[in-house]
Symmetry: C2
Subunit: 315 residues, 2 copies
Amino acid sequence: MTEPVTQVIETGGAHLARGLAKVEARLREIAAAAGEPVAGWAGDTIAAGGKRLRPLLVLLAAGDDSPAAVRAAAAVELVHAATLVHDDVLDSAPLRRGRPTVWSTAGRDAAIVTGDHLFARAFSELVANDDVVQIRSLSRASSSLASGELLQRADAWDTAVTVERYLERCELKTARLFEAACDLGELSAGSGDAPVLGAFGRRVGLAFQILDDVLDVTGPPERTGKHRGADLLDGTVTLPLILAGFEDLDLRAITTPAQAEAVCDRIAASGALERSRERALVYVDEAKRALPEGMPTAQRRAFELVADGVVERYS
Amino acid sequence: MTEPVTQVIETGGAHLARGLAKVEARLREIAAAAGEPVAGWAGDTIAAGGKRLRPLLVLLAAGDDSPAAVRAAAAVELVHAATLVHDDVLDSAPLRRGRPTVWSTAGRDAAIVTGDHLFARAFSELVANDDVVQIRSLSRASSSLASGELLQRADAWDTAVTVERYLERCELKTARLFEAACDLGELSAGSGDAPVLGAFGRRVGLAFQILDDVLDVTGPPERTGKHRGADLLDGTVTLPLILAGFEDLDLRAITTPAQAEAVCDRIAASGALERSRERALVYVDEAKRALPEGMPTAQRRAFELVADGVVERYS
């Protein structure tokens, strides 16, 4: 089977492959410009960032690989990377996608400074698009990310967290940046109209986070870069656990990967994974229906493939 | 003797007192809007921020207390506050201006998230001024702050650091945000001309940082909120130590406040404090000379008082 991301690129138009290559080159340039040692840490963080789903959404929404679209895509990815490097400090995470984190190799101070640097650079990059509406969109998403990270910490170890509260966290932590990615792409194309694709991005972001949380329970570790049940050991209560209804479970008593994997097996046996996936599918369906009527066929098909790809756990 | 800040306000025009009150109210609003518990931590960080020298520069450069000037002033102070809360994590600082830090009361995670939040909110605030040039100025200053913090860590414990390298650090850590404060004020007044007051801000920022470093050696603790020689215990090599020429000093061997204070006494006896102050005075003088010819008398006099006030250690 072809990788979902490859399908999207093949379907959506030649500007996607070109644009992603430009974004990659630009991210490398930005990291290198920081000077050593930050350049190395920033570069490692960006390299560990995965499949560039957010830049892909920007380029797809833009419909071109113009300098403005590439800058917007790089800016969104920089905010994402800044968040990752700070999250790794908060989580004391040794690995991300199977690679050592800046926190683990260079320490807490290096990771905090690297994150601050990437974050500041995101705005410097986007500023060149000369569009305050784009900056507003990205700064709102950035505030949301910080609030979402906090909500996660406030709710840690609390197995009585509601589905609504969990979804609010997904909204802040993930969906708002996906929404901004689509808005920024559309805005950078410069039609002058108010962007409409954010509604697609937001829903795909919700589905993405839910399925990411499912993947933490199911593994396999080769794909996630960590053992199953890492969220349980962090005290992060996610939809599969909430729907499994183990309200009496004492998360603090789970202290080893083996214990976490045993709880994962119990969650799987409860049917909560299927029910979580169903919720995600509803958002994927809503996302597709949020695509505007008059959208060109190739673009629509590519957006639909992104939405379907999220379900096939594409990140 | 009247406080320098009071003199500036009395001299510079009624808009300064009004503007600072509006900035204060706006900062409180922004902190509160974060929702608990971040609201409390953000509020504490902002409350610990001192005498609002950066917002004062914005308002002074703007020449009014328009909504745009107040937003710019709040944005600059939010970036400053974000930096402080992250610096306290990096320094494991229990106190700032004699008050417990977020790091010490709520922990590392709370402080990282609070800083990220304040930083994101700075840009959200400034975006409302609808001026990409202002955002560019603030994002550059923010990148510089992160780079400066890093340079400080890279140079830690190294008593062979040069004066040039020390000044580069001051430029990044302090002067660029002072420069941005002046630029933002001028830009928010909207004459359409390129800003010229940044040159004043930059030099005053350099003087401010040098004198801040002198104050770390001289105390008194009631004014700094920490014992003398805190920089020595952190491994931060500053101008007084460089000029004292103690290149054989092993900073890592200084582990108690009493030892640090003894080294402070040796630095003072070497005459390095006077020589540091002289360097600062050169920047203060340059700052005043950077003020443009045609500036109204009251505004000029207020700017000069800011510069002189920095020498009287006004922060």
